[in-house]
Subunit: 342 residues, 2 copies
């Protein structure tokens, strides 16, 4: 058997390129598993903008760093094909922090994979109820702490995190202002996600448009973008406002984005700016998935995914996150079994 791998061949300068990765086909390791190990065949990979960070050298920002010459790191879904761990049987579907290869070994007691809930396919477990919506859920509800009647501003609002943030905000009674790029995404936000106002960041006079959209100031800013957007938002944050730091797409070409210039507004406004990761709330995932499913079944949670096919196209599919063409959660399916419950 062959184990295909996409290796990180070089660290990108600026925009990542397909040529930064290299396809290799190695013989699969058929040696016996050590006790406690499992072997998983990958069926599905999630692509997220922050993976561009993971292509950087190990450094000063606490994110994982892919090793040069090793498979690119990725949120992964697969099916257990060998097991030397009594709690993780052959045939079970799991999600895990893996890498771009057909087969890999994990130690569940160390690596902490997740069991796919009964009745869910990997596509659902990693898409509609996966990392992105859960990031939205915990970021907004645990860090942002929305209250009825507050103004919630979301950047990257048409993205797979932002659109869920906007809709949960709406369900919690917030006035929701979404920022997105281009009229199509803005229309989808208004018509399908039910935001109160959608702003095109590419439009002229963005700051003035933003301020006009938030006449009572901003109580919560859920920021996926950073940079100039964060700067503009800080100037309108209300007393006791919360800024949820989820990502910094503005800086995903390897350039760090700067924090806001108006630091004194954070001081005098008693404003809280806070980063988080979905994994901080791992214990609460089952309850969060249940709530997301209930909203989805009630028709309250518009969702789009963008499912690409094939292992060979992994780098090209990933890079579509950065050219504005991708709409919805970007999943790369390497085996059709990912679409059905195990």
């Amino acid at each position: 058997m062959v184990n295909r791998q996409w290796l990180l061949a070089r660290r990108p300068e600026g925009h990542a390129q397909v040529s930064d990765l290299e396809l290799r086909a190695n013989a699969q390791d058929e040696s016996p598993l050590a006790p406690g190990e499992i072997e998983v065949r990958s069926l599905l990979f999630l692509c997220a903008p922050t993976m561009r960070n993971w292509m950087e050298p190990p450094g000063r920002s606490l994110y994982p760093s892919a090793t040069l010459g090793a498979p690119m790191l990725a949120p992964s879904g697969g099916r257990i094909i060998r097991s030397a761990h009594p709690d993780w049987p052959i045939g079970a579907d799991i999600t895990y922090f893996g890498s771009w290869q057909d087969v890999q070994r994990l130690c569940p007691d160390e690596a902490g994979p997740g069991r796919v809930l009964p009745g869910l396919s990997l596509v659902d477990a990693m898409g509609r109820f996966g990392l992105n919506p859960l990031t939205a859920y915990f970021g907004l509800l645990r860090v942002g702490v929305p209250k009825q009647g507050e103004t919630l501003l979301v950047s990257g609002a048409a993205g797979s995190v932002g659109s869920v943030v906007a809709q949960i905000g709406r369900l919690k009674g917030c006035r929701v202002v979404g920022i997105a790029g281009g009229p199509d995404k803005c229309r989808w936000l208004k018509d399908e996600c039910g935001v109160d106002i959608a702003i095109d960041y590419k439009a002229a006079g963005f700051d003035a448009v933003l301020y006009a959209a938030c006449p009572d100031g901003i109580d919560i800013f859920f920021d996926n973008v950073g940079g100039a957007t964060l700067d503009a938002a800080v100037d309108r944050m209300n007393k006791f406002g919360r800024i949820v730091l989820c990502g910094q797409i503005a800086g995903y070409d390897g350039a760090a984005t700067a924090g806001p210039r108006n630091m004194m507004r954070l001081v005098y406004g008693s404003i809280r700016m806070q980063g988080f990761l979905m994994g901080d709330y791992a214990d609460e995932v089952p309850q969060a998935v249940a709530e997301l499913r209930a909203w989805a079944e009630a028709g309250d949670l518009a969702y789009r995914d963008d499912i690409r096919q094939g292992f060979d196209a992994l780098p090209a599919s990933f890079l579509s996150l950065f050219d504005g063409t991708n709409q919805g959660t970007l999943l790369v399916m390497t085996d059709p079994a990912a679409a059905s419950p195990a």
Copy 2:
């Protein structure tokens, strides 16, 4: 009777100057008080670096802005000399958000002055147990939330806020690293305040010295300074670290300081950066003063003040905050009665 006033004559460009203020002597308003009003004679003014912000035009940072041609705003202490409010009797000492003038009228129901606790002089109420130590107390305990064994970094650590932060951190079992300017301040921090390490920000290779002083990273950064100090600290913040934004001395010449560049560390580190004002915790002040008094009486809280004399010297005294010569809480006494309980 004459009412002397120091008026804000022009808004400073860069460093504030004595010539930005103008001394005026007006006739005192002797008309009757309206119901609910009181009249207070000022005895003591607190000078704090953030007052430089208050000289800026009303703007985008939520701080109060002194009116051009009106008396300069200041945390003030005085004695009630006329009263048309049953709860605020003549002869009582109060602290209030006032301005640089001999006499002023207040509406206690709107302006929220504070009653000086029995047995305390205004010098104690505004100094050892006043705005600065209370800012330290609430900022560290309510925003920073120190835990035994954590590393606490304090910038401006020899200042009247920072030195109390450092000592409360020590009392709570933190390993305390203080940043100050010059060997004298560093020695005082080590010898009198009991910090574990004092770092001179003027020393060569500051970042390397800072990192060597925090080998286990930084759990809490109490920041009075902003700018490059904040930038350096963020690179060493631990997962779930807290950055308490108290002030931005680096930007007190009217220039805004920028936020940290390493925003992705805030995201992946689940780091909370939060501004606050002492007034956010107004309800808890009596309990906080009691705790500060208990620590002071046990000899656990080193304190210095820097009491200047005279109304005429107010601007010059205030400006000593910015040339590095001031050490300790800077109070300007305009009447010796401020040194004794009412």
